[in-house]
């Protein structure tokens, strides 16, 4: 039940819970109850809007930063916290492979991002090195193709 509700909400956070209930064949109260519960349990962590900023006049840059750190007593959580507390940091992933973390950083300009990396990130004691990759164009995010030109129904109107 929970997974089914989440599957629907993941694609459309604004959907009417009555519609969700109808689709799953349960009452609206049941769905609302589950949703509230999942919000409390931090299973549902927020409701955001997927925006293609490239289409607005807003200037902003995004960078993926690979971060290598010195292993710490108490694991990586503490280092992660030192990084994710910065509001410039949009996402932090602990990853396998050639580096330890990947961060997604948002800034107004490349300079701003560069300053953040050199001034705030690299100077952390645990950080041994960073590699900054600027995003040139975003094609797909959260499973959604951002500039999908295929929004028209190409099917014939009536078929057997």
């Amino acid at each position: 039940m929970r997974e089914k509700i989440l599957g629907i909400l993941e694609k459309n956070g604004r959907i009417d819970l009555g519609d969700v209930a109808a689709m799953l064949g349960v009452t609206e109260a049941e769905v609302a109850n589950e949703v509230t519960q999942m919000e409390k349990e931090n299973i549902i962590c927020g409701y955001h809007t997927l925006i293609n900023w490239d289409k607005t006049s807003d200037e902003r840059v995004t960078a993926l930063i690979e971060v290598k750190v010195t292993p710490q007593r108490g694991g990586f959580d503490q280092v992660a916290q030192r990084m994710y507390r910065f509001e410039e940091v949009d996402a932090v992933y602990l990853i396998s492979g050639s580096c330890d973390f990947t961060l997604i950083i948002r800034g107004k300009t490349m300079k701003e991002v560069a300053q953040f990396v050199s001034g705030k990130l690299s100077v952390l004691d645990a950080v041994r090195g960073t590699a900054t990759n600027f995003v040139l164009k975003k094609y797909k995010d959260h499973g959604t193709i951002l500039d999908d030109d295929k929004n028209t129904d190409e099917r014939m109107l009536v078929t057997p």
Binding site: I8, A22, M23, L24, R155, M156, L157, V158, T159, P160
Partner: protein, 386 residues
């Protein structure tokens, strides 16, 4: 000058859907719930495989029966889904399920043989029977039976000329299914009266109750059943035109003769795509089935709220609400709905006279689309009730 046309062809009625299609296409900005194909794109990994086959230059004919790899996968599918063992000589890859229907009828019917065709059902069984010089005998399915075929109905339609029963479940347009208990009854009659079955299972993967069971899997039925299936509905591959038939070799090999002279072989790159679909497409089917099921429930709820009576269908992607209480014909209802509210649905009569009093509404549409259309249908109903 002599009339160039065959009497037979001239006697065949053009598809009732076609008439409606012409009206709809003239209406601009109409919302349609009239489509008999999935709204999903073919999953990318399947399309990608077809592109790759073109890149590799696989642009030649395949063997008449279809790629061996594909037929092996079809055999695997029949084994996994139905527990039925077929070898590749008992499979034939066709240009859509439609071709399989046509050639199965032509391979099995002699002039005057009677073919039992439950209706409402897909539009091509009757004309294809006629083109094979058979005699279509329609059986009117009833809402009180949830549009399932009953033993009694078959028995009362049987004559000594009855050769074949068309079994179109899960059903287009009603969405009805046949469960094991229903099929057992029909199978007994077929064995007793030596009747063959053309089981059109193109919607086999789209059921919302138990998994679909093929009548061929019941005792005594494998040797008298041609199963038709295809890729259009399960994998959203309508435009690829790829279906297949499986059945006893002595029937398939005769169908294959017609196929090789009329068609040669099904499109090669579609066949390569289909191999990928059968090998790696299970999760796509699951995803689409779950989406359809949500919409199905949503529609049932919405109909209930607006007071439109509808039996609960458990298959395909259609609902078949009754409009009998409004005292007008299906065609009147559908054309009124189109004119007043610009929503296209298909009158039940497009699928046989027993569809009178019903509408076929497809839920191969996004929820937003369905919502908009439903609110318009509700408006229309209000004007009728006034």
């Amino acid at each position: 000058m002599r009339n160039p046309l065959s009497v037979m062809v001239q006697e065949i009625e053009p598809s009732g859907i076609r008439k409606f299609f012409d009206i709809v296409t003239e209406m601009k900005d109409a919302i349609s719930l009239g489509v008999g194909e999935p709204d999903f794109d073919t999953p990318w990994h399947i399309r990608e495989e077809a592109i790759y086959s073109l890149e590799k230059g696989r642009t030649f004919y395949t063997s008449n029966s279809g790629l061996v790899e594909l037929r092996k996968e079809i055999c695997n599918y029949m084994k996994h889904s139905q527990g039925l063992e077929y070898n590749i000589n008992e499979t034939l890859v066709t240009v859509g399920g439609s071709e399989a229907i046509d050639i199965a009828l032509r391979a099995m019917i002699d002039p005057g043989d009677e073919v039992l065709i439950p209706q409402p059902s897909f539009v091509s069984y009757v004309p294809c029977t006629q083109l094979a010089y058979g005699v279509p005998v329609t059986i009117a399915l009833r809402e009180e039976d949830q549009f399932r075929l009953t033993k009694e109905q078959v028995l009362s339609a049987i004559t000594e000329k009855t050769k074949l029963l068309v079994l179109p479940f899960p059903n287009n347009p009603t969405g009805a299914i046949m469960e094991k208990g229903d099929l057992v009854e029909i199978a007994k009659v077929c064995v007793e009266h030596d009747i063959y079955v053309l089981s059109d299972e193109i919607y086999a993967e789209l059921t919302y109750k138990d998994k679909h069971i093929s009548i061929a899997a019941l005792p005594g039925m494998r040797e008298r059943t041609i199963v038709i299936n295809g890729f259009s509905k399960a994998y959203a591959m309508t435009g690829w035109r790829l279906g297949y038939a499986v059945g006893p070799e002595y029937i398939i090999s005769q169908m294959m003769k017609i196929h090789q002279f009329a068609i040669m072989c099904a499109p090669t790159n579609s066949q390569y795509a289909a191999v990928e679909a059968l090998r790696n497409g299970d999760k796509d089917i699951t995803m689409m089935r779950e989406e359809y099921d949500k919409r199905r429930r949503y529609l049932m709820q919405a109909f209930q709220n607006m007071g439109l009576e509808c039996f609960e269908p458990f298959g395909a992607f259609y609902v078949f609400p009754s409009i009998k209480r409004f005292g007008i014909t299906s065609e009147e209802f559908a054309s009124g709905l189109l004119k007043q509210e610009k929503v296209a649905v298909v009158p039940g009569t497009a699928f046989g006279q027993s569809g009178e009093g019903y509408l076929r509404i497809s839920y191969a549409y996004s929820l937003e689309n369905l919502k908009l259309a439903l609110s318009r249908i509700e408006n229309y109903i209000k004007t009728l009730d006034r």
